[in-house]
């Protein structure tokens, strides 16, 4: 047990909390941006605009069928070739937004599809334009249907930030690795505490999700 007491000294805990801070910071920004990106692109794909929808659809399908790890490599190593200088935080956020945005777009697409076509037709025959019908009639119902999927995708996003250790993003797992690689007796205490930290963050997000869902249902 001595290991545990030593491993959880204030210096180490503070270092882990800094990592947790980066995890949460990157997650929050990525969640917000990827939600917007997902909504827009899922929407465009559904509008059946000639060519545009098809092209957007192709891109979404390619991105969401690739491992996130690859997308992280592409943003970290590839973006600078286009003249955009990246650091691990920026590259991680961009990678997460691209990948999770595509995943969310797919959820939005199937959410809109799940709304019976009669709803749209009814709204249109009542004199609404396509956009009006979409925004006031179809989208609210679709959003309601996709909330569980959306939120579990957000939880996935938080967990996925750990993959960015590969490009030395100073997040929770990475900081734990730094600590236990300098003192290898801390290996088990470190994995124990970061598992708890990840669990607390993700589980509270899930709880918040089901709370929201209940609120929507009532």
């Amino acid at each position: 047990m001595g290991n545990f007491a030593q491993a959880y000294s204030w210096v180490d805990i503070r270092f882990l909390l800094q990592g947790l801070g980066v995890t949460i910071y990157v997650s929050l920004i990525s969640i917000a941006l990827s939600f917007i990106v997902g909504l827009i692109f899922g929407f465009i794909r559904n509008m059946k605009i000639k060519y545009l929808s098809a092209i957007v659809g192709f891109c979404i399908d390619i991105i969401r069928n690739l491992p996130l790890l690859l997308i992280i490599f592409f943003t970290y190593f590839g973006l600078p070739e286009l003249g955009i200088v990246t650091n691990p935080i920026l590259a991680s956020i961009i990678a997460l937004v691209i990948f999770e945005g595509a995943m969310l777009a797919e959820i939005v697409r199937s959410g809109i599809n799940a709304v019976p076509i009669g709803q749209m037709e009814g709204a249109r025959s009542n004199g609404m334009t396509y956009m009006q019908a979409m925004i006031h009639v179809v989208l609210p119902q679709a959003l309601h249907k996709m909330i569980p999927a959306l939120l579990s995708q957000f939880v996935s996003l938080v967990k996925d930030t750990s993959l960015a250790t590969i490009i030395v993003l100073p997040e929770l797992l990475f900081h734990a690795q730094i600590i236990y690689s300098q003192n290898s007796t801390y290996l088990i205490p470190m994995y124990l505490i970061i598992s708890v930290m990840y669990f607390v963050v993700c589980f509270s997000l899930s709880m918040f999700a089901s709370h929201l869902q209940k609120k929507f249902n009532s």
Binding site: G78, S162, L173
Partner: protein
């Protein structure tokens, strides 16, 4: 780019093979575990439901990479030696099984209580009713979400690269570092992944449409 592909053909194929192998093994075990825990989750005994709930929430809320690392680094210190491939496959199986269990539970719930009651009143036991009436119907409903879990599983198998599991991503690193052509190598590997995931993803969408 074609040059890298031909000169490192054996590395890519080994990696591709290992990724497929690991995905299939993990698919099998995550299905078995997933169905098992889904059944526990709807079991009429509260204790079993709690156990299933803990298992599912635990593996759903901890990153796959952390689970895999624990199997690779911690377990060998106490129990038995685990190779990177095995650790990755175990991690993938446990992680995916939690998601599959949730999908199947939702499927079972959507079949409806009436079916269960009807089967029971026809003289079936709980197990029989589950086995012959509820589960077959539930499985049909959950095929599209299960397909998506399988696609996620294939993509997630890239964590093997962290634990020297000789999968596609690990080989990509090896090739990228010896050829110094980072981006090109990862593009090739991306195409390999798409060969696996894209047809599956389109098939799932087709099924989804058909079911609607």
């Amino acid at each position: 780019m074609i040059g890298i592909l031909t000169s490192h053909w054996s590395e890519f194929i080994t990696g591709f093979g290992n990724t497929i192998l690991c995905s299939l093994i993990a698919l099998f075990f995550s299905l078995v575990l997933g169905i098992g825990f889904a059944l526990l989750e709807v079991a009429p005994i509260k204790f079993l439901r709690i156990i299933a709930k803990i298992y599912i929430e635990l593996f759903r809320n901890i990153p796959l990479l952390v689970i895999t690392m624990v199997f690779y680094l911690v377990i060998p210190q106490f129990f038995f030696k685990v190779s990177g491939f095995v650790a990755g496959t175990i991690g993938l199986s446990l992680y995916t099984s939690a998601f599959i269990a949730e999908n199947i539970r939702a499927g079972i719930n959507s079949v409806g209580d009436g079916q269960m009651e009807g089967a029971l009143s026809n003289g079936m036991t709980y197990t029989q009713a589950m086995r012959y009436v509820i589960l077959p119907q539930a499985m049909r409903i959950v095929i599209p979400p299960l397909g998506n879990q399988f696609i996620n599983l294939i993509k997630n198998s890239s964590v093997l690269a962290f634990v020297a599991g000789f999968d596609l991503m690990y080989q990509a690193d090896v090739v990228a570092l010896s050829s110094f052509q980072t981006i090109n190598t990862y593009v090739i590997v991306g195409v390999f992944y798409l060969i696996l995931t894209l047809p599956l993803s389109y098939y799932m969408r087709y099924l989804e449409k058909k079911l609607n």
